[in-house]
Symmetry: C2
Subunit: 311 residues, 2 copies
Amino acid sequence: MVSFELIILGSSSALPTSKRSTSAHLLSIGERFFLIDCGEGTQSQLRKFRLSPARINHIFISHLHGDHVFGLFGLISSMGMMGRNATLHLYGPGAMEEMMRAHFNFFGDPTFPVQYHKAGDKQIVYEDSKVEVMALLLKHRTETFGYVFKEKSRLLNINKARIEEYGLGLADIKKVKEGEDFTTSAGKLIPNAILTLPPFRTRSYAYISDSAAKPEIIPYIKDVDLLYHEATFLSQDAELAAKTMHSTAAQAAHMAALAKAGKLLIGHFSTRYKNETSFLNEATEIFEPTIAVNDGDRFTVEQQRISADEL
Amino acid sequence: MVSFELIILGSSSALPTSKRSTSAHLLSIGERFFLIDCGEGTQSQLRKFRLSPARINHIFISHLHGDHVFGLFGLISSMGMMGRNATLHLYGPGAMEEMMRAHFNFFGDPTFPVQYHKAGDKQIVYEDSKVEVMALLLKHRTETFGYVFKEKSRLLNINKARIEEYGLGLADIKKVKEGEDFTTSAGKLIPNAILTLPPFRTRSYAYISDSAAKPEIIPYIKDVDLLYHEATFLSQDAELAAKTMHSTAAQAAHMAALAKAGKLLIGHFSTRYKNETSFLNEATEIFEPTIAVNDGDRFTVEQQRISADEL
């Protein structure tokens, strides 16, 4: 079974609190560790939650405000001290490379390669055999991207018991996975449905921060299992939210409803409010399956076979 | 009573651990808040220990390695968001200004003035009516300064009960504090000893990190109440200490013994060792009043009048 787990490393907005570190999420899909944003203290949060920084090869940066990037310097420095050789891939706004180069120019280049990937609106910025990541341009005071992490459409799963039973070779298995029937050496036709199990549902996670609500992105986050949408303000401060290009809890919930998300996770709460209860109340009125996240929270999406009527 | 308290904000060496943040100390002398080094996460440590970043006007930086400065970016950014107007004074190696300017160049200048003070060996880098701070050049892989914080020699304390009794005016009080006798309007000579109390002892704290042991600084840290001396390694790794220009616990203890320090505080432990017990064992064999510090530790030096035989 391939795991699909999101771990909240930091859930505060611009100012950290005694309970909340600045923005950072870790999405683990099987062996893959995707770090999303890297506020100050991210390396300490990783250690606190017993996640090895060495396992991170891909970091996705939403935008170049301090509370989303100031942890990069320490994390990359520590990766070097820990003896890293593997290439580190950084995805983000175009100016990210300039920012990192200016930093390395003063503090010295890392001992391992760093590769920069400039994000573009609705572009697949990362892809491997099982996962793809799309960047979505958001609405904030500087160039800002959300990221949608999606398992790729899966082939049919072969029913292992049938391989031996009917004597399938490797080439046969490949064809059967693509939907073909199989003819045995004795000339008997075995329908595909007998040889296969339904594929797994493709799981997905969307990270939308920082941004004013942007309904134009809905088609790209449709049916996402987990939607993280920033909720910096309450509706009572909607004007301030608009001015600073952030969202209210109600706006985040409205986005989740439009997207028909499985769950809405809200965070990036302004420190002007005492606690997260008001955020949760405001959001759940519009979209019930909402969670106000805390540092250390973990959310798992289970692997499920597509049911017959979905096929 | 004027307080004199040191608070350990971060006690790890290059890599933070789940228990230790990277280097940062806060020395509070009365209303003054002196921050010494500012590793990543310092602003979070300040919040955790309920110390307001707004009260910090002076930051002393030992050297420009990440584990001593990466917290500056977030702390300064947060000070701005919290509405700071007061000038922030930064003391440190000459290249610190270039480092900060390069950073501000990318992320924008702070909304409040920042003033840079280039440290020099054995120079008083800060001085006010009650406190002075001397920089000491250390032995490390880059230009590195230790800092000695000292209360100034205090004038005699006037015995308030005598002011009214003998009818002293403001000008008289000033002279008496400087050691003069007083003649009443009736022509009676009142000896100084009757009018005054002994002065308080001047309290002091020395921060020595990062550095190989440098006995040449002993005259400048002589009789210090609290000596923080880094102890990155154990004697078994003395060669590595020499190569990286750090100290062993035994070397730190030897420095404390030479300086006749009141207490030795050791920290900056390499993460290669399981815990601090071995450091403490090694140091106390040479200098008994040694403490292996932890994040959050507080050390107070009480105000004491100089005893008659010290005068």
